[in-house]
C-alpha cells in the first residue's frame, strides 16, 4: 500500500467527494488561491474553480453561518477555519443554528456540513493559535465530532463526514499533517462512531485521540523493550463515542490510561473514564483509571513550556510504569 502524508490523504478525500457530488464545496479564508494556510486545499481552486473553492473575507461567523444556510438548502459545504482557536468566532452559527436546526424544526431539516481546522500546539504559535478543544463541541447535541489520527483515517473519515447529514466538527492536529501512513488506492470510507485498535496488547489499554495516538504508539514501542504489552485504542470520533470497543479492551487488559491533548478539566477523558467506571469493565479493573492530559493553562509561547503543557511520549511511558508498579 502506498504511504501518504496525512495532509495529502485529507486533500484526496476532499477531492474525491467534490468529484462525486457537485453539491460539495469548500469555503474559508485563503483556501483558494493560496491553497489554505497549511496547504490542505492546495490545487483544488485550480481544479474546481473559484465557485467551488471559495475564498472568503476574514469573517468566521459568516463562514460558519453560510455553511449552515447552504446546507439547509441542499448543499454540502466543507468550511475551513484557519486555526481551531477561531472556531469560537464561528460558535453561535455552529452551536445555536447548525446544531439545533433539525431538532428545533421538528426533524424537518438537515444540515449536512463539515467544519474543519487545525488544532494543537507544538509550533510556537502561542495561546491563540494552539489550543485543542474538540471536546467542547461534543457537549452540543446535534454536532458530531471527529478527530482522525492517521492518513488512512483522515481520508476515510472526511469522506464519511461529508456524506453525513449532520453538522460535523472535524479536528485535525497540525502536527499530524506531516505524518505518513498507508492509504489504499481503492476507495474506502471510515464510518463515524467506530473506534479503532491501533495496537493490540494485553497489559494495559491506552485510550488516545488525535496526535496522542502517535505518542501512545511510540510509548508502546518503548515499553515493549521492557516487556510491557500495551494496547492502543483510538476512539476516532468523540461524538458518537464507541464505548463498546473501549470497554472490551479494558476487560481484556484490566488497566487503562486515557491520554488527551486538551486541557484536563472537563475533558473527553473524563467522559471515557466515567463510561468505563459505570460499565461491565469496572469489575475487571486492577488499577484506578488514570488520565493524562494537557495542563489547565493556555498554551505558552516558549517551546520548553509549550512542550510541558501537553503529554509527551516520556510522560506516557512514565505514567504506565507507575500504574504497573
Amino acid at each position: 500500500m502506498p504511504e501518504k502524508l496525512y495532509i495529502d490523504a485529507l486533500r484526496e478525500g476532499l477531492r474525491e467527494e467534490m468529484l462525486r457530488d457537485e453539491n460539495v464545496f469548500i469555503i474559508g479564508e485563503d483556501v483558494g488561491l493560496y491553497g489554505g494556510a497549511f496547504g490542505v486545499t492546495k490545487g483544488l481552486f485550480q481544479e474546481f474553480g473559484e465557485d467551488r473553492v471559495k475564498d472568503t473575507p476574514i469573517s468566521e461567523a459568516a463562514i460558519a453561518g453560510a455553511a449552515v444556510g447552504a446546507a439547509l438548502c441542499g448543499m454540502r459545504p466543507v468550511a475551513e477555519i484557519m486555526f481551531f482557536d477561531f472556531f469560537t468566532i464561528a460558535m453561535d452559527q455552529l452551536v445555536n443554528q447548525g446544531a439545533k436546526n433539525r431538532y428545533m424544526f421538528g426533524g424537518k431539516a438537515k444540515v449536512p456540513m463539515v467544519i474543519r481546522g487545525p488544532m494543537g500546539c507544538g509550533t510556537g504559535a502561542a495561546a491563540q493559535h494552539s489550543q485543542s478543544f474538540p471536546a467542547v463541541f461534543a457537549h452540543f447535541p446535534g454536532l458530531k465530532v471527529v478527530m482522525p489520527s492517521t492518513p488512512y483515517d483522515v481520508k476515510g473519515l472526511i469522506k464519511a463526514s461529508i456524506r453525513d447529514d449532520n453538522p460535523v466538527v472535524f479536528a485535525e492536529h497540525k502536527l499530524l499533517y506531516r505524518v505518513k501512513g498507508e492509504v489504499p488506492e481503492e476507495e474506502y470510507i471510515v464510518p463515524l462512531g467506530k473506534a479503532d485498535i491501533k495496537r493490540k496488547g494485553k497489559d494495559i489499554t491506552i485510550v488516545a485521540g488525535s496526535i496522542m495516538v502517535i505518542r501512545a504508539l511510540e510509548a508502546a514501542k518503548q515499553l515493549e523493550q521492557e516487556g510491557i504489552d500495551v494496547e492502543v485504542v483510538d476512539p476516532r470520533t468523540l461524538k458518537p463515542l464507541d464505548m463498546g470497543t473501549i470497554v472490551d479492551s479494558v476487560k481484556k487488559t484490566g488497566r487503562v490510561i486515557i491520554v488527551e491533548d486538551d486541557p484536563m478539566s472537563f475533558g473527553w477523558g473524563a467522559e471515557v473514564a466515567a463510561g468505563i467506571a459505570s460499565s461491565s469493565a469496572f469489575d475487571y479493573l486492577d488499577a484506578p483509571i488514570k488520565r493524562l492530559a494537557g495542563l489547565d493553562i493556555p498554551i505558552p509561547y516558549n517551546p520548553n513550556l509549550e512542550k510541558h503543557a501537553v503529554p509527551q511520549v516520556e510522560d506516557i511511558v512514565k505514567a504506565i510504569k507507575d500504574i504497573l508498579e
Partner: protein, 328 residues
C-alpha cells in the same frame, strides 16, 4: 502644520527603530532564534509613528498580530520586546506570549493580538473606562483592511459612535489580508467610507507619509479628547515582507512590491527633513547608527536572559489560583 525639530527627530528615530528592529528579527527568525510566527511591519512605519506621536503614555492602544511597530511607536522597550521574541523570562510576557501577545500596561499597550478583529471591541471598553473614570485618555485601535470584514469591526464602531467614545480607529490598509487582495475581500476602495454608516468622520490618508498621518491623527485625537467621539482613519500602505516570515507570497506581483518599495516612508521623510533644514544627512546617519546599536543591545539582553522554568507554566492563569493539583 508647524512641528518642532525635536518632534520631527523623534519621529524619524522611531521609524528607524521599527525598521532596524524588524530587519534584525527577520534575520533572527531565519536563523531559528525566534520560534513561532512573526509578522513584520517593514514598509508601514509611518502609520504607527504618525499616529502614536500624538499620544501620551497614559493613552491606550490596541494592536494586532503585526504589532511590533505599534509597540515601538507607543514607547515599548526594545530589550523586553526582543527578550519576549526569544521566549525569555525577562520578556514583556515572561516568554509566555511571544510576538503576537506583547503588552505593556504601564504605557497603555493593551496587547498585540492573535485574533484578527479582536482589538476593536476592546478599544470600546478602554474608551468607555476613560469616560467612566472621567479622564482625558484616548484609545487608538489599530487593525488591518482584512479585519474590517469581521463582525467585531461593525459592532465596535457602532457602539463607539452612540456613546461618542474617545476612540480613534486606525485601519492600516496594506492591500492584503494574507493572500486576499482588497478588491477580492471587499467591494469598496476606501475603508474610511464605512464610518459614514456609523455617523462619524472617516478619512483616508497616505500611510507612507508620516506627516500626513500625524496631521490627521492629531485632529482625531483632539476630537476624542474633547468628547466629540470617534474617527476612522484609513492609512494606505503596504507590507514589504510576506504575511508572516516564511510566506512564499505567491499571490502578489513583484512589480507591485517594487512600486511600493519605491515609496519607502523613511527616505521620503529623510528627504523632507534635509530639504527643509531640520536635519543634516550626518545627523540622520547618526540616528540610524544609534538605533542600530540599541537594537544590538536588545539582542544581547535577550540572549543573556534566562529561559522560564517549567514550574512557571502553571502560574499567571488566575490572579489567585495555581492549579498544580491538576498538573501531571
Amino acid at each position: 502644520m508647524n512641528l518642532s525639530q525635536e518632534l520631527l527627530a523623534s519621529m524619524y528615530r522611531k521609524m528607524m527603530k521599527i525598521r532596524k528592529f524588524e530587519q534584525r528579527v527577520s534575520e533572527l527568525f531565519a536563523q531559528g532564534m525566534v520560534p513561532g510566527f512573526v509578522h513584520l511591519y517593514i514598509g508601514e512605519e509611518a502609520t504607527a509613528v504618525g499616529v502614536c506621536e500624538n499620544l501620551k503614555d497614559t493613552d491606550y492602544i490596541t494592536s494586532t498580530h503585526r504589532g511590533h511597530g505599534h509597540l515601538i511607536a507607543k514607547g515599548g522597550e526594545l530589550k523586553y520586546m526582543m527578550a519576549e521574541l526569544f521566549g525569555r523570562k525577562t520578556g514583556y510576557c515572561k516568554g509566555k506570549g511571544g510576538s503576537m501577545h506583547i503588552a505593556d500596561a504601564k504605557i497603555g499597550i493593551l496587547g498585540a493580538n492573535g485574533i484578527v478583529g479582536a482589538g476593536l471591541p476592546i478599544s470600546v471598553g478602554s474608551g468607555l473606562s476613560a469616560r467612566m473614570r472621567g479622564t482625558d485618555q484616548v484609545t487608538v485601535c489599530f487593525f488591518g483592511d482584512g479585519a474590517s470584514n469581521q463582525g467585531t469591526f461593525h459592532e465596535a464602531m457602532n457602539m463607539a459612535s452612540i456613546w461618542r467614545l474617545p476612540v480613534i480607529f486606525v485601519c492600516e490598509n496594506n492591500l492584503y489580508g494574507i493572500s486576499m487582495r482588497q478588491d477580492r475581500h471587499q467591494a469598496i476602495a476606501d475603508i474610511s467610507d464605512r464610518a459614514q454608516a456609523y455617523g462619524f468622520p472617516g478619512i483616508t490618508v497616505d500611510g507612507n507619509d508620516v506627516l500626513a498621518v500625524y496631521e490627521v491623527a492629531h485632529e482625531a485625537v483632539k476630537r476624542a479628547r474633547e468628547g466629540a467621539g470617534p474617527t476612522l482613519i484609513e492609512c494606505k500602505t503596504y507590507r514589504w515582507r510576506g504575511h508572516f516570515e516564511g510566506d512564499p507570497t505567491t499571490y502578489r506581483a513583484k512589480e507591485e512590491l517594487e512600486e511600493w518599495m519605491a515609496k519607502d516612508p523613511i527616505p521620503r521623510f529623510a528627504r523632507y527633513l534635509e530639504e527643509n533644514g531640520y536635519a543634516s544627512r550626518k545627523e540622520l546617519e547618526e540616528i540610524e547608527r544609534s538605533v542600530e546599536s540599541e537594537v544590538q543591545q536588545a539582542i544581547d539582553f535577550a540572549e543573556k536572559s534566562d529561559l522560564p522554568d517549567e514550574a512557571d507554566a502553571v502560574t499567571d492563569v488566575y490572579s489567585d489560583l495555581v492549579e498544580e493539583g491538576r498538573a501531571r
